[in-house]
């Protein structure tokens, strides 16, 4: 079976972003970009399913600007067989991405789509669920364990209060949580090999998808800062402060 793995190009996990002075957004000039960490976990999981003989082909797909090609090359360096870039300069919101991915999925007919539960830039946590809805497929979000059986997937999910395990029919959409796996590093030979793997480039219009944003960003601001606290000398001083100044303990 085929697995489709959507990947997003985002500001690197280690970068602390700054809000632009004019409040129009965050400053992305000369900022290091990487693959969304949750999507790396998705690529890794797809590779493990391929190595286990469950999947026959892993296809990475990304939606966005030309530079998303780098993200797709990274996915292919980890092991994806080929990739699709839906290229556009328009700001893509989750619903638009889900529609683009649904169009790609209809063409590719995968049995499984694995993607990150959320992107660490907009923190929306929507795309996988929307994609499942548009395709009319079941979903298993926040996965910490995935097993593929006969026409179905058994997925353990991280939920409020603990874990729950769902059995869903295939085809299906799975979104990854942090503890699903630890992604491998791409090796140099694999990075070289990835350069020769096929990448198809399509435009949203060719897929018949209207990607116009539904939400307008009015402004972006710094969050209120906490005023700097104090250091206490010892435990006794800490207890005194909590009891008599902050009055949070009896």
């Amino acid at each position: 079976m085929k697995i489709l793995v959507p990947v997003k190009r985002v500001v690197d996990y280690n970068i602390r972003v700054r809000v632009k002075a004019d409040g129009s957004g965050v400053d992305l000039a000369n900022v290091k970009m990487s693959m969304n960490p949750f999507d790396e976990i998705a690529v890794e999981e797809a590779m493990r399913l391929k190595e286990a003989g469950v999947a026959t082909e892993v296809i990475a797909v990304s939606c966005g600007v030309v530079a998303c090609q780098e993200t797709l090359r990274t996915a292919m360096a980890i092991g994806a067989d080929r990739s699709v870039l839906v290229e556009t300069d328009i700001e893509l919101q989750p619903l638009a991405v889900a529609k683009l991915l649904a169009a790609v999925a209809k063409k590719e007919a995968p049995q499984l789509i694995i993607l990150g539960k959320q992107a660490i830039d907009d923190d929306a946590n929507q795309t996988g669920q929307m994609l499942a809805a548009l395709l009319g497929w079941p979903q298993a979000t926040f996965a910490s364990k995935v097993a593929i059986g006969d026409g179905k997937a058994t997925v353990t999910r991280e939920v409020d209060g603990g874990l729950e395990t769902l059995e869903i029919s295939l085809p299906a959409v799975v979104t990854t949580d942090l503890r699903l796996n630890e992604p491998r590093y791409a090796t140099l030979p694999n990075i070289m090999k990835a350069k020769k793997k096929p990448m198809e480039i399509v435009k949203p219009a060719e897929l018949g998808v209207d990607v116009a944003p539904r939400l307008t960003t009015v402004s972006v601001a710094e969050p209120p800062r906490r005023s700097a606290g104090i250091k206490v000398a010892n435990v006794a001083a800490l207890i005194d402060k909590l009891r008599n100044e902050a009055r949070v303990i009896a």
């Binding site: 669920q129 939920v159 769902l166 539904r214 104090i230 250091k231 006794a236 949070v248």
Partner: protein, 317 residues
């Protein structure tokens, strides 16, 4: 026109997050002069519906009671919510749910079926179509305006007060949808604890990598949590290392908390962790590294070896 709030519950009782969602709905409703309805979808969920009628500000509680809503699977639930919106005579302007794991799982599915955007995890209502939400792990706050006819919204519970009791809403049993049979719950492993729920706790004792082992985590933090009547929390590092279960994780991708007192023990304070707890009223940090970023948000910082400081703290309380 009305506003629809999706109840968060476990078939036996209503979860507190629903009360925060009603407050957010009321902030929008006050501007529009509209009613607030609550949808309770579950199995044998009559008690939950009864609770929901008593939330102040709610005028109607719609109940869909069927076995296939018992596990809150997103496929059946989303189809039901869309049917409720489509069949409602007056129509709904907004659909709200708390950003719990159920809310986050189901609402984007509803939004896609309605062909509208979802506005995730709002922390403030600016206007009926304009909301504030954190992005980049809370490093920035975006004010976004929706052009869609129906606004599908999840909200951060800690940013809205709980609605009070004293309401007297009418209960309406609504037709149940079909069981789509796409997903089946086959197992549940809930963390059993007599301590308060993390998301609703007044005091949280949280541990990080500095505790060095799961054994230390339990040995040092549990007595302290019990003494303070606190919930236990953990950093991602501590959960990844297996010191604590996954649902203890506080941070960007874990739980967002805002207790009256948050005690961070052996937690360095990565931005992803701070994103989950920096709205706490009083933050205490105990860490042996004086340069740990946690001290930049702590009201009271104690630079000390936690293996000495924590027992001393316990003894002194």
């Amino acid at each position: 026109m009305s506003i629809l709030v999706i109840a968060e519950h476990d078939n036996a009782g209503l979860k507190a997050a629903t009360l925060n969602a009603v407050t957010a709905a009321a902030e929008i409703g006050a501007r529009l002069g509209t009613d607030i309805h609550v949808l309770v979808a579950g199995a044998d969920c009559g008690t939950v519906a009864e609770h929901a009628t008593r939330i102040r500000g709610v005028t109607r509680v719609k109940v869909a009671d069927a076995a296939h809503y018992g596990d809150q699977t997103a496929e059946n639930l989303a189809a039901l919510i869309v049917a409720v919106v489509d069949s409602s005579a007056g129509g709904y302007t907004h659909i709200l749910a708390a950003a719990t794991s159920n809310g986050k799982n189901t609402l984007p599915r509803v939004a896609a079926l309605l062909d509208v955007a979802q506005i995730s995890e709002i922390i403030a209502v600016v206007d009926v179509d304009t909301f504030v939400r954190p992005i980049y792990a809370g490093s920035a706050l975006a004010t976004v305006k929706s052009a869609d006819a129906v606004k599908v919204i999840t909200l951060r519970s800690t940013s809205f007060d709980a609605a009070s009791q004293g309401g007297n809403a009418a209960i309406e049993a609504i037709p149940v949808g079909p069981d789509l049979g796409q997903a089946k719950l086959i197992g549940r492993e809930m963390t059993r604890s007599a301590r308060p729920e993390l998301a609703a706790a007044k005091v949280i004792v949280a541990g990080g990598r500095g505790l060095a082992s799961g054994e230390n985590y339990h040995k040092l933090l549990e007595p302290l949590a019990d003494k303070l009547g606190a919930a236990l929390g953990a950093s991602r590092a501590a959960v990844d290392a297996g010191f604590a279960p996954n649902d203890y994780q506080v941070g960007q991708t874990g739980k967002i908390v805002a207790p009256a007192l948050y005690i961070a023990i052996g937690i360095s304070g990565a931005i992803q962790h701070l994103a989950g707890m920096k709205d706490s009223r009083v933050i205490v940090a105990i860490n042996k590294d004086p340069d740990a970023p946690i001290f930049q948000v702590a009201d009271y910082g104690l630079v000390a070896d936690l293996f000495q400081a924590v027992p001393e703290l316990l003894a002194g309380l």
